[in-house]
């Protein structure tokens, strides 16, 4: 494939994550878009194709009323935790198909406090499942983590180390929500939610927005000194036997995850190996999820996580820096924005202008991974 077929990130913008009652989801999205356009040095009128995603905070295409009624095609995406990745995929495919040479992807959300509301009927389940207290996402993450620790000989300390690193990174990141470092002891001793997971091992639904400007081929190099190539982006849904949220039953196993399929496809297409990755983003809805995803994406072997974490390998100065902005644990999880936050962080790291701690040594290969209900995953490889 020649350079003219490749899609590049040429600008990115982000509204701080967290809680701010003075702004709406749309306000945040508008700010992220304007920042991304300014970063790319282009105007809204230059955008030839757009995609936007939000889970609960409005119809993204109505942003044209704020940004300018240019007639631009604007696709709305609602794809759970893969929303951000799906917006990027929609725009990248449109650019490759010749629809435009410059596109925009935006994601935003503003959630209520506390656990996400669920409805048994919406998941095709009987009322009994929720009435008897089994329909909670926190339980699912705990059950999956409990089994994973057991099968791979990992301890609860590994879970605490994941969260401690997230808050350490978040403390240095101007756009993160949780900016206070916590010790492993404080994390282990925080309120019990569902063992082995404690309060500080879970992220919270929050708010935020992020946007990317994407350009095709030579246009990217005209606009940007250091465009970041979208070397691959793979999106997969679950296959039979994956262990997913709200499952009254599971087959005896083995339990395949869509993350394995998505990561494998992303690495193959990019012709990059997991060991080449120098900065990574992994879905860390909770500490256990990050542990599992480290191995499912191929960044390490199953059971190796505790030693990696203890040796600092996933720190910004380590061999495979993970969630250098603090991830969902420090940023919260505005569903529509979360995936684009990952791109924002990796792009800025590869360009050598990280908002928080910069990974040293000019990293050239980045990776992003999202995973969500019920059994979807998207992974990308970004290179410079």
């Amino acid at each position: 494939m020649s350079r003219s077929d490749d899609v590049y990130v040429v600008g990115c913008g982000m509204h701080p994550f967290g809680r701010d009652e003075s702004v709406t989801g749309m306000d945040m999205a508008e700010r992220a878009v304007r920042e991304a356009l300014a970063d790319a040095g282009v105007a809204w009128e230059d955008i030839g194709y757009a995609a936007g995603g939000s889970d609960v905070s409005g119809k993204p295409d109505t942003l044209v009323g704020r940004l300018g009624l240019t007639g631009v095609p604007f696709v709305n995406v609602q794809n759970g935790c893969a929303t951000g990745a799906s917006t990027v995929l929609a725009v990248a495919n449109a650019l490759r198909a010749g629809e435009a040479t410059l596109g925009l992807a935006v994601g935003f959300d503003k959630h209520e406090r506390g656990a996400f509301h669920v409805s048994a009927a919406r998941y095709g389940l009987g009322d009994w499942y929720a009435e008897t207290g089994m329909m909670l996402t926190t339980q699912f993450f705990a059950l999956k983590t409990q089994r994973y620790l057991y099968e791979h000989g990992l301890s609860e300390r590994a879970l605490a180390m994941v969260a401690a690193r997230a808050f350490r990174n978040g403390a240095h990141h101007p756009l993160a929500w949780r900016r206070k470092p916590l010790t492993e002891r404080e994390i282990l001793d925080s309120a019990e939610v569902s063992p082995p997971l404690t309060q500080y091992m879970f992220c919270s639904p929050g708010q935020g927005a992020a946007a990317l400007v994407l350009a095709l081929g030579d246009r990217a190099f005209d606009l940007c000194e250091r465009p970041v190539k979208l070397a691959s982006l793979a999106f997969r849904t679950r296959r039979f036997g994956s262990f997913e949220v709200f499952s009254p039953w599971l087959p005896p196993g083995p339990h395949h995850s869509p993350s394995v399929d998505a990561a494998d496809a992303a690495f193959r297409t990019a012709e990059v190996r997991p060991t080449d990755v120098q900065v990574a983003q992994l879905q860390d809805t909770d500490s256990g999820s990050e542990l599992i995803h480290l191995a499912e994406t191929g960044l390490c072997g199953h059971g190796e996580q505790e030693e990696l974490l203890a040796g600092g390998a996933t720190d910004p100065t380590g061999r495979i820096p993970v969630n250098t902005d603090g991830g969902c644990l420090a940023g919260g999880e505005p569903v529509g924005a979360s995936g684009l936050r990952q791109f924002h962080e990796v792009v800025r790291q590869l360009q050598g202008r990280a908002p928080g701690v910069q990974v040293p040594g000019a990293p050239r290969v980045g990776f992003t991974h999202v995973y969500g209900a019920p059994g979807i995953s998207a992974c990308s490889v970004l290179t410079i």
Partner: protein
Amino acid sequence: MTTRLIDESLFEDVEDVEDIENVENRAFDDGHAPRLAGARCSGCGTVVFPRQDSCPRCADGAMSTRVLPVSGRVWSWTLQAFPPKPPYRPPTGGHQPYLVGYVDLGEVLVEALLAVPRADIRIGLPVRLTTVPAYWDEDGTEVVTFAFHPERDGER
């Protein structure tokens, strides 16, 4: 006091079942106690719970009622520490932290409440099907649901 099952479709009274493939599971020593009922695919043998009309794994098979084994082992477990939001219906006296998990029944893993002391819970613990009170209806009917409790000595 009247009692009812939380959802009849989850259960089968073994004496009423004519089309049971797994005859060995009929020997349920509590007589008429309800058994969990799933469905089994005639094409690929996949067992699901609760029942459903199509197979999630293959397109070929027909699904028929499958009465599930009563004994298994804890495959994973956790505790529900905080009170869930509605539509959760707490038992009389309000929410108390409770254990949930998956029980490995061999042909299928079933998610269930675990009526096991916290000190005893562990992956691999042998457990057996039982029923526990879930909540009370407005008219005073006790609503019961399925759960698993530790396998007692002499039951195996």
